[in-house]
Symmetry: C2
Subunit: 312 residues, 2 copies
Amino acid sequence: MAKRCERLEGSRARSVLSGAEAVLFDCDGVLWRGEAAVPGAAEAVRRLEAGAGKRLCYVTNNSSRTRGDYTEKLRRLGFPPAQERQVFSSAYCAARYLRAALPPGGAAASAAYVLGGPALSAELQAAGVAHVGAGPAPAPPTLDHAQSGPLDPAVGAVLVGYDPHFSYAKLCLSLRYLMRDPGCLLVATNRDHRLPLEGGRAVPGTGCLVKAVETAAEREAFVIGKPSRYIFDCVVSEFNIDPARTIMVGDRLDTDILMGNTCGLTTLLTLTGVSTLEEVQGHLESSCPERRSLVPDYYVDSIADLLPALQD
Amino acid sequence: MAKRCERLEGSRARSVLSGAEAVLFDCDGVLWRGEAAVPGAAEAVRRLEAGAGKRLCYVTNNSSRTRGDYTEKLRRLGFPPAQERQVFSSAYCAARYLRAALPPGGAAASAAYVLGGPALSAELQAAGVAHVGAGPAPAPPTLDHAQSGPLDPAVGAVLVGYDPHFSYAKLCLSLRYLMRDPGCLLVATNRDHRLPLEGGRAVPGTGCLVKAVETAAEREAFVIGKPSRYIFDCVVSEFNIDPARTIMVGDRLDTDILMGNTCGLTTLLTLTGVSTLEEVQGHLESSCPERRSLVPDYYVDSIADLLPALQD
């Protein structure tokens, strides 16, 4: 049945929530904005978990924070305590993917060349994936070295994450690894175009860097984060949840809602972040199947709107 | 009539050449490879100009050389002397475009923020286009400065050329200029994915940087170089040549040949550079109109093959 983006309230809210076993939350724009919790969000999360007994997971495209950073931030902003295994970031899931896709450590082509920072490096380290290039604060390679210096013989994958030290030299080095071996994997944490800041400002997202590498390599990257279903597959393999009894809550139609719809989840848009009801309206009126797949089942102004349906 | 990529030789070569008034040459892969002239190419060019009286122009997507660099290289490699006005590089044509598209110097939004090197800067300077950001060897902005430093109030365009100092910080600054003013122009010298080097090696081309900026800006750039017809329009406005009596000679189907076909020129592929007859064959057998538009009228192994048809 076509999704219609209905407001989730009253008896419908109680029925949708009571039918769910698991709720997946995007974080920024849903639970908080920057360092400020969305008012009422922590209480809604508490009631979903402790009161209604839902399995909660946190699913984020951000590759510049570790899972520990997320549990710490949840705590700091007054959310119920979470375990690291409830956090599915694109950094953690990329590390999981490479651990499975690359040969065991020490074998040929078992390491990753990484465009990214210290959190991505830490998740790779925790997963036992050998890697070069990533932070904490590496000197970007000089252009001469990137163009003609020796390549690391162990590299069998290029992983593109959020990298504030991205440079033409790093792009050169990525291309050399990908041209050296047609079997070299090309993996991206996510395709987000921009990261919104306060006051309508924004900085370029990982998707810009991914496009640069893909254009040079003339290949498409395997994408870990939303809307790719890989990040949801990680949740399923960890918690064995049933898609038909899972709600995906997010603020972006093109990542959160699209992934949820693709994976057969119930999708709930919250208006505390990036996407607006006007955008949904445009998709609803479109005859294009791709745009229709961006329409959520339900929306709320804020996840605090779920509180009445979650009375103890 | 559908183009069939016939070998240009014998009486057909004499007839095609005698019917032409002007010949446009791509340079690298056609006249030379790196620092080595294609054997016989200089003599073919000499006979076309001095013997057969053709108007010759040099049309290149390279944005990292000035027109003077090209006339000097032609001289150095033994080609007939050329005037700078015969050289149409994407750097020169970008400067021409911005001179026409931006308000006069001193007015608001009359300057360009430039991702590029000293040659691009020199062409802008020669055209009288105020600009910031470009080489010779500017310190790339620090990330802090790019994200929160003051913006130049005069900037009304972002110009993306070949920039070996491209960085995430420059990408941030580009996005800020483009978000500050929805009327800010976004211009790219070209979309080439890679620059081929000797021995099958390659480095990332300007197209990679363009994609990164376009992805962040969520806008498409206006492209100056081949296959855009803008660079050909520059030739026409300078020399008033007749497309129906003009031959475009190039080594790349997706730039040289596509532009020539789009603009109604006779197109001649030479096999001393990037594209191969196998690629042409794939396009010839395709029913896709976009691929058919990459098929040239004629091909030669090298432009030296034109010598017999150009006997004095």
